[in-house]
């Protein structure tokens, strides 16, 4: 019943890495703030330190700008990695990921529709509906092509992503304001710039709602390794599990996109890297992917906002620069099954 010691150490190491990364990432940026000052500010806001050790401006930079951004990055990375892992098993497709299958683009479109309709508060709902519609469409198109093989699912995803992205761009141009190019970019490519506490709350809610459902399905996902019939004969209610998890994945993707736009490749790269290290037992793979996804996203986002300081890149550019070559490697590795 007890997890093997090597995994306990890996979890401890990843958590330590995550906390250290968060602490370091908060010191990076145009204003030079030391690790000590960051911790002092956090302790002050948590009520453990009576007086803030820094000026009001620096306090605001840490508490209102950097901390929400770091937390949003961690949450979005964990969520996207989790969504990608689940989709890869459920579709038996090593290339599945919310971005490549068009879910992220669908979610971005849904979010923009609700945003421009004046229902900014319901934007996450729009993103969820968009990702759900994209998922349904991807599965329907793949079935139309004669069964959801990996290459067909990807082709369906390309089609949906192109359509949804065009729709998003069109909507934003239609309602053109001065900064619409920037806005289009951040929805299509993904950006965490300007993340605030309400974004953090949303990401947190999405994770609290979906992650437990997914993490507790590790046993069922393991049973899917040899296909539906094998899973059924191992006692898994495959129809219920599949729909529950697809809905959870669509919701998770919707929430992450509502906060960060269509950030690509995180859901693809992270699960594959973790799988190479620990194998496909999902009771280990799922939580590890979340942790690695969080750290990966935090560092790509930190790079995106500080590499070309004072200019900021949309983080999606950085994840794509890392992710596209990895995608190619996976394609080559699995060329037999595609």
């Amino acid at each position: 019943m007890t997890p093997r010691p090597v995994y306990v150490m890996a979890y401890a190491g990843l958590w330590a890495l995550l906390l250290a990364s968060a602490a370091v990432a908060m010191t990076l940026g145009p204003a030079h703030i030391s690790v000590g000052e960051v911790w002092g500010t956090l302790l002050h806001h948590l009520g453990l330190l009576a007086d803030s050790p820094v000026s009001r401006l620096r306090d605001a930079i840490v508490w209102e700008l950097r901390l929400p951004r770091v937390l949003a990055a961690l949450g979005v990375g964990a969520g996207l990695a989790l969504a990608g892992t689940v989709m890869q098993v459920l579709t038996r497709n090593p290339l599945a990921d919310p971005y490549l299958l068009g879910l992220s683009s669908g979610a971005a479109f849904g979010a923009v529709v609700f945003l421009l309709a004046g229902a900014a508060l319901l934007m996450p709902l729009g993103a969820f509906l968009g990702s759900l519609a994209a998922l349904g469409l991807a599965l329907a198109i793949a079935r139309l092509l004669g069964g959801a093989t990996p290459s067909r699912a990807i082709l369906a995803g390309i089609c949906i992503a192109a359509l949804a992205s065009a729709g998003t761009s069109l909507l934003i141009f239609w309602s053109a304001t001065g900064d619409s190019y920037r806005e289009i970019l951040s929805w299509l490519i993904g950006s965490l710039s300007g993340s605030n506490w309400s974004d953090v709350l949303l990401v947190g809610l999405g994770l609290v709602l979906c992650a437990p459902i997914i993490l507790l399905s590790g046993r069922g996902l393991d049973a899917f390794a040899f296909g539906d019939a094998a899973a059924a004969s191992l006692g898994i209610d495959i129809v219920r599990l599949r729909w529950t998890l697809l809905a959870a994945t669509a919701l998770l993707t919707g929430v992450m996109v509502a906060v960060g736009g269509a950030i690509g490749f995180v859901g693809l790269v992270v699960p594959h890297a973790v799988r190479l290290a620990v194998g496909s037992r999902h009771r280990v793979l799922l939580p590890m992917s979340m942790l690695v996804g969080a750290v990966f996203m935090l560092w790509t986002d930190t790079a995106a906002r500080s590499l070309f300081d004072p200019r900021e890149l949309p983080v999606g550019i950085v994840t794509a620069l890392v992710g596209a070559p990895v995608f190619l490697l996976i394609l080559l590795r699995y060329r037999r099954v595609t």
């Binding site: 019943m1 007890t2 997890p3 093997r4 995994y7 098993v89 038996r92 497709n93 090593p94 507790l216 399905s217 590790g218 046993r219 393991d222 049973a223 390794a225 040899f226 296909g227 019939a229 094998a230 059924a232 004969s233 191992l234 006692g235 898994i236 209610d237 799988r275 190479l276 194998g279 496909s280 037992r281 009771r283 699995y334 099954v337």
Partner: protein
């Protein structure tokens, strides 16, 4: 009665009947062989027992409990299934794959196999002679090795009903005999073993009970010596054969003579 009792099972794919009122029994403590030509319905019958096929009619009971209406998890603790082909794109070791046999016994909250799970997996690997493979990656093994791993996975389910679809199709002759010996031991321990097979001489040698299927119907059932006769082989397989009794051997031997034109 104890064991598997299948009665009047009908399964359709679209308009076409795959199984048409098929029924047979597989007694506990015996090895039951399903024989019949390609497309006779052997795999579908096994799938129906496992609850993978929707029944249009008929009943399937194990120890008087109805299998089709049983909750899937409970059924998985009772019966194990070895498919004809089992491939995966997942990155699993042989030990991981055999460990899947413990899934029906684990709770969702369990993060790692229990000591009992590990012990069962170890002995299942040993029974199939695959202990040395435990750390190897499943998808890199040969077809025959994968087949043995899948049988070990089924043994790890500690089943009382074991269904196997041509479990020896990728194995060399020695491995076939070893696998069939293991299945006989399972039967001796009280398990009902049902396997679809093509090699009639191995069926005669290892099965206590034979069920001959043709075009979705059971056409003969009984002891191998009774079921395997030249008339049946001609009718079911379209093959002319001689059945001989080898002195000193308790089981018959089939000698295939020719495949006469049916028209």
């Amino acid at each position: 009665m104890s064991g598997l009792v299948v009665e009047g099972v009908t399964v359709k794919a679209g308009e076409r009947s795959i199984l048409d009122g098929a029924g047979f029994t597989a007694p506990a403590g015996a090895v039951t062989g399903l024989i019949g030509p390609n497309g006779a319905g052997k795999s579908t019958l096994i799938g129906a027992v496992m609850g993978l096929r929707r029944l249009l009619g008929g009943t399937i009971a194990f120890d008087d409990a109805s299998l089709p209406t049983m909750p899937p998890a409970e059924r998985a603790r009772l019966c194990a299934h070895v498919e004809q082909f089992a491939t995966t794109t997942e990155r699993l070791t042989v030990g991981d794959v055999v460990g899947l046999g413990r899934v029906p016994f684990q709770s969702a909250w369990q993060t790692a196999p229990s000591a009992h799970d590990e012990a069962v997996v170890t002995s299942a690997l040993a029974a199939m002679g695959m202990s040395a493979f435990a750390g190897r990656l499943y998808h890199l093994l040969s077809g025959g090795e994968q087949q043995r791993v899948q049988i070990a996975r089924a043994l790890a389910q500690e089943p009382r009903l074991l269904l196997l679809d041509e479990p020896t199709s990728h194995l060399d002759i020695r491995a076939q005999l070893l696998v069939l010996d293991v299945l006989r031991q399972q039967a001796q321990a009280g398990c009902s073993v049902v396997l679809a097979m093509h090699d009639l001489n191995l069926a005669a040698r290892y099965c206590d009970h034979l069920v001959a299927l043709n075009a979705g119907k059971v056409v003969a059932e009984g002891r191998p010596a009774d079921v395997l006769d030249p008339d049946l082989l001609l009718r079911v397989y379209g093959v002319a054969a001689t059945i001989v009794q080898v002195p000193g051997k308790p089981y018959p031997l089939v000698i295939y003579d020719s495949a006469p034109n049916s028209d």
